[in-house]
């Protein structure tokens, strides 16, 4: 098989493996005989969890020493490929570092990268990537015709993570070569923004606000609601572009793809840009003044009404519980 060996770009913080990494391992295991992880930082602390999810080897590039992951991991993988010990396929997550690694590596090896992947399937000796296009109305399957490594950047929540009960992965060192000037950026400080709830792309309930809220102050209602239902607040591109909330809140084609049990869209009309990021939710509730809003076309429960009237009552009802 042309893809007998798959590597997954692993991400972890404080000894906990990111969900996206476990999701990618679950799919990789289904597709290939040999599944390995390449990771920066303390590999020993995550070897057991990675092994339990099917990784046999963890290739550790060691501590980043305040450097950024992208150029370092890409360089280490490129060297492994040129020495013949690299993978046939690399899976990265659609994350901040995942896209950096994929982009750097693609240019280093002069090989294409296929992004926004939501599924993978074998096609002879290669893999085909499933990408939704045109606001998720069309499904496209793409394969590369290039020689060498295939790189795929996969959306979170595309696969379900699954424990296999496997032994801890063995840790092996992967050297990072000379980066020249490419690795010169240095992290001087890290800030954790206070967030009491779950992460947006992992929350069971997502409450999102759009332009229908009218003004930035009203976004507080979304945060209040999200906290009452132990969910995560999200936003449409319009309010991110307007600077009400940071990019990390954005649900959509550009932004995060979420698939919660319940998605509550408040004052969001449902541009295709937004729908592609949330139409995979199990249940969708929408509140919008305009009965013609496209969001009602995919909502399980649609409320034609004013968010400024409905949301305060909903908050009150939840507080009373």
């Amino acid at each position: 098989m042309g893809f007998s060996k798959i590597w997954v770009h692993g991400e972890a913080s404080d000894g906990v493996v990111a969900s996206i990494t476990l999701e990618l391992l679950a799919k990789a295991r289904e597709l290939a005989d040999s599944v390995e992880v390449v990771i920066a930082g303390d590999a020993d602390s995550v070897a057991a969890e990675l092994g339990d999810h099917g990784a046999s080897v963890v290739h550790s590039i060691g501590p980043l020493d305040n450097g950024l992951a992208g150029p370092r991991i890409a360089s280490a993988i490129a060297d492994a490929c040129s020495q013949g010990s690299g993978p046939d396929v690399l899976l990265c997550g659609t994350t901040y570092d995942g896209r950096d690694v994929a982009g750097r590596l693609s240019a280093k090896l002069d090989t294409p990268v296929i992004t926004n992947v939501v599924d993978l399937k074998p096609d002879g000796d290669r893999l085909l990537a499933h990408e939704p296009v045109f606001g998720g109305t069309k499904d496209v399957f793409t394969g590369t015709t290039a020689e060498g490594l295939d790189i795929f950047v996969v959306r979170p929540k595309s696969f379900a993570a699954e424990s296999t009960g496997g032994d801890p992965a063995s840790v092996s060192t992967l050297q990072v070569g000379d980066l020249g000037g490419t690795g010169a950026a240095v992290v001087k400080d890290q800030f954790v923004e206070e967030s009491s709830g779950p992460r947006l792309d992992e929350a069971n309930i997502v409450v999102s606000g759009g332009r229908g809220l009218g003004e930035p102050d009203k976004y507080e209602m979304i945060e209040k609601l999200a906290s009452l239902v132990k969910g995560a607040p999200g936003a449409s591109r319009a309010v991110v572009d307007a600077g009400w909330v940071p990019y990390s809140y954005q649900v959509g084609q550009t932004g995060k793809v979420v698939k919660p049990t319940v998605y509550l869209a408040c004052g969001i009309s449902g541009a295709t840009q937004h729908l592609v990021g949330m139409k995979g939710s199990a249940n969708i509730i929408a509140i919008n003044k305009d009965e013609e809003a496209p969001i009602f076309g995919i909502a399980d429960l649609g409320i034609v009404g004013d968010v400024h009237k409905v949301l305060p009552k909903l908050i009150e009802a939840l507080e009373a519980q």
């Binding site: 901040y96 002069d110 926004n116 085909l128 591109r237 600077g243 409320i303 939840l318």
Partner: protein, 259 residues
């Protein structure tokens, strides 16, 4: 300080277009506009040059068909000039081909800083900034929320999963910025008039010494094997709020046992 902003001209997102069934590439017969995602980079570049007290903002863009409508918008905002790589062979370019072409054009301009959006609104691969940085042999910081420059050093607040990192990066460098971080200015009437006469240098691939076989659909080395309609999602119950809609939402959440 001279800043190059990479900008993309795209079909109006309100009219997303369709795939040509023969070539399986995007049909591009509509008027192109400036990708809104790029307006943040243009604004940030103008502010940084302003703060530096000297230098200029230049644009780099590519398109198969020579369109300049989107570039004129960015020039009207205050950019001084543009390099437009225009060549029929660019049709169907993937992210790596795009990065190769933009990098070649940027080399002619030799800027101190290269700004990009994190991803385009129509292709949204989000890999071009890093690919470009690698080809140019430069450091990079992606997903910037805030950028300041002091001499030869840029300081960037980079979005992370849990907050942000403060990253220092020596120039020249490639920095991608997220949407919403600055408020893009509206072009003034004077700006719009001035933009008509600002220089747009149009180059083809030969002028950049790029082999057409390495870019466009040929250079992408990808094939689309299947295009299918995605399963549609059905509309459910729709009610008009008469003051009691919150009760229906509570009942819906109760049924799902998520509270």
């Amino acid at each position: 300080m001279d800043v190059v902003v990479c900008v993309k001209q795209i079909p109006d997102p309100a009219d997303p277009g369709e795939l040509n069934p023969d070539t399986k590439t995007l049909k591009r017969d509509t008027k192109l506009i400036l990708d809104e995602s790029d307006s943040y980079g243009v604004e940030m570049a103008l502010q940084l040059v302003d703060a530096a007290g000297s230098g200029e903002v230049r644009l780099v863009s590519m398109t198969p068909g020579g369109e300049t409508g989107g570039l004129r918008t960015a020039l009207a905002m205050g950019a001084e000039s543009a390099i437009l790589v225009s060549d029929e062979a660019l049709a169907g370019s993937d992210s790596l081909s795009t990065a190769k072409v933009l990098a070649a054009a940027i080399k002619r301009s030799n800027p101190d800083l290269i700004l990009t959006a994190t991803e385009s609104s129509d292709g949204y691969t989000g890999t071009v900034p890093e690919q470009m940085a690698e080809i140019l042999g430069l450091p990079s910081v992606t997903f910037g929320k805030e950028v300041s420059v002091d001499g030869e050093l840029a300081t960037v607040k980079r979005q992370t999963e849990s907050g942000y990192d403060v990253v220092e990066c020596p120039l020249p460098a490639v920095i991608s910025v997220t949407a919403g971080v600055v408020e893009p200015r509206y072009p003034s009437f004077k700006g719009i008039m001035a933009a008509k006469n600002k220089p747009v240098e149009e180059l083809d691939l030969a002028a950049l010494e790029i082999d057409p076989a390495t870019v466009g659909w040929a250079g992408a080395r990808q094939e689309i094997t299947e295009i299918a309609d995605a399963p549609a999602r059905e509309a459910g119950e729709v009610i008009v709020d008469e003051g009691e809609a919150h009760e229906r939402i509570m009942a819906f959440l109760d049924e799902l046992k998520v509270l």
